[in-house]
């Protein structure tokens, strides 16, 4: 039986069902339903909930709980995730598994609480100091958010890495029916944990520090070997482009749903557009763009930002196709008609009036003009 749930609620309950026993959070909109849910349910589930003194406090509690070997999670929204970067860097440096969900808003700075995708660089480029990445999952439906929480905890344990789930305020706040399937969890021993069991094994230490160049370099090279495995095994994409399609539109997360509506509209008028939806943002499905059908002539990237993922698309395309961009920012969400009009423009067809009365952005707008 399905249950109508908010994205934020789905992430919370799925985490508990996935065996998360330590949650550390801090209030920030639009993710507040998660700490609220955890405060009500975590203790009954035999776990720990703490409302930390800050996002910095919360991520460092995660560092401690992860070091002790339990499944642990924190969640926040964009500026709060920025504060957690110190901790995320340490978690990566110390090879500690955890899950971090970012219910993103728009920025920079305090920005606003409306949906945004401008944390793409922060999520996929490490975000803090040092050479590291974290796997980043981008759900587009509440059901997918539910399922990805289970996968994220498994991937975190399997590769000993923090995993990020990057959604946006739209998906966090919206409700959809969820099949609350409890996926079997990957049970991995954690003989490295600093959990005070030195009577049963040699003592364990956890650190990201090494003052010797060769030692630290070896640690980093080892970590990048793991990254290579992650890239090989975990890259995920939904590619709907078929022979005969001329325009591939790349979008991720909840905004990819708006692109689907635009594609329906375009196909109805004879323009064969199709969606490429990266499911993991790191590792990124670069190869997808080298194996597209011959009929493809244009790539359009649609993001709720000034253009961040578009850089990865260009890396994947590597000059093979023209790459176009359409974005809205500041919490303004593009409507399907805007994406359709952008494709019409690319195809040399006239624009249609926008149903919402929103103003179509032009290339010159998106390069900084108004």
């Amino acid at each position: 039986m399905k249950v109508l749930m908010k994205g934020n609620e789905a992430i919370s309950e799925a985490a508990i069902q996935a065996g998360c026993t330590a949650f550390f959070g801090y209030p920030i909109t639009p993710q507040n339903e998660i700490p609220e849910y955890m405060s009500a349910k975590m203790e009954k589930a035999g776990g720990v909930f703490i409302q930390a003194e800050s996002e910095v406090g919360a991520i460092n509690m995660v560092y401690g709980a992860a070091a002790a070997g339990v499944r642990t999670m924190t969640t926040s929204s964009s500026p709060g995730i920025a504060l957690k970067q110190e901790g995320i860097s340490y978690l990566c440096g110390a090879n500690l598994p955890c899950v971090i969900a970012n219910v993103a808003r728009c920025g920079p700075g305090l920005g606003g609480i409306l949906p945004g995708q401008s944390d793409y660089f922060q999520a996929t480029r490490g975000g803090g100091n040092g050479d590291y990445y974290t796997p980043v999952y981008a759900p587009a439906t509440v059901q997918e958010a539910w399922d990805m929480v289970f996968e994220s905890f498994d991937i975190a344990d399997k590769y000993r890495t923090p995993v990020q789930i990057l959604l946006d305020g739209m998906l966090g706040q919206m409700m959809e029916p969820v099949e609350m399937k409890v996926h079997p969890r990957l049970n991995i021993d954690k003989p490295w944990a600093t959990n005070g069991n030195a009577d049963k094994r040699p003592r364990n230490t956890i650190t990201s520090l090494s003052l010797f160049g060769e030692v630290l370099e070896a640690m980093n090279l080892q970590r990048f070997k793991v990254y290579e495995e992650i890239e090989k095994n975990e890259t995920a994409v939904e590619n709907t482009v078929k022979e005969g399609d001329t325009v591939a539109i790349v979008a991720y997360g909840a905004p990819s749903r708006i692109v689907r509506n635009a594609i329906d509209e375009l196909r109805a008028e004879g323009i064969n557009a199709a969606l490429i939806r990266p499911i993991t943002l790191w590792p990124y499905p670069y190869d997808t763009f080298q194996d597209l059908p011959k009929s493809v002539k244009h790539i359009l990237v649609a993001e709720l930002s000034m253009g961040q993922m578009v850089e990865d698309v260009r890396l994947g395309v590597n000059g093979k196709y023209p790459v176009h961009f359409y974005g809205r920012t500041g919490g303004v969400v593009f409507e399907p008609g805007e994406i359709a009009n952008k494709v019409r423009e690319i195809m040399g067809k006239p624009a249609k009036p926008l149903a919402s009365g929103q103003k179509q952005m032009t290339d010159s707008n998106l390069k900084g003009g108004i």
């Binding site: 550390f24 720990v48 509690m61 230490t205 650190t207």
Partner: protein
Amino acid sequence: MPNPNNEATRRVVYEKSRGLTDTPLTYCPGCTHGTINKLIAETLVELDVLEKSIAIAPVGCSVLAYEFFNCDAIQAAHGRAPAVATGIKRAEPSKVVFTYQGDGDLASIGTAEIIHAAHRGENITVIFVNNAIYGMTGGQMAPTTLVDQKTSTSPFGRAEATTGKPILVSEMMATIPSATYIERVSAHDVPHITKTKRAIKKAFENQINGKGFSMVEVLAGCPVGWNLSPVDSMKFIAETMIPYFPLGVYKDEGVAV
């Protein structure tokens, strides 16, 4: 005169605590960190909790403490040790969790974390080593640096007008309703070291007995950072630091004293 080679007359009068590993300490000559490390190590052995202990090392001179304490140990980001300790202790409540932090770590960058660990009444032990300076990074001014004290970032002496007076951490922590035990001690001579050991032991006993948050502030010497000889730096603690940072129990069993 007894023959030292005679088995019958040989006896062990002192040995390194098994609470410490064989890793050579990295502290400077005359530094009191080594003494305080040893007191903690002895305490963990005496209370028979070494194997179930988890040490949290800070950033600062004791950053490598995770190599010294002979138990599970983890290195934390600058100032965040009390948050890391919270995460571990909540995940493993039956284990003994302690942080070892200096004044830059605890009293400057980590004020939010230490205050809120106490404010939640975390059942952990905090050993706060106050030597009134940032030692590791080259002797910069700390929040606990005394007025007029010269450091590498207060070359003319700490100016009260622009940098305020040294922060009194124990006095401040004692005002937190959920803190259980707060004491300031000193490591400058044998009688005081004995008292320091007693305070550290009590702070760990409190945790073992589930009494909540305990912090022991230990006044410590930094001859290199202070530009004093080891002997003079001990005198500096006795004559200059203690008058400003009075020793004593500031809170016990949740009651201010």
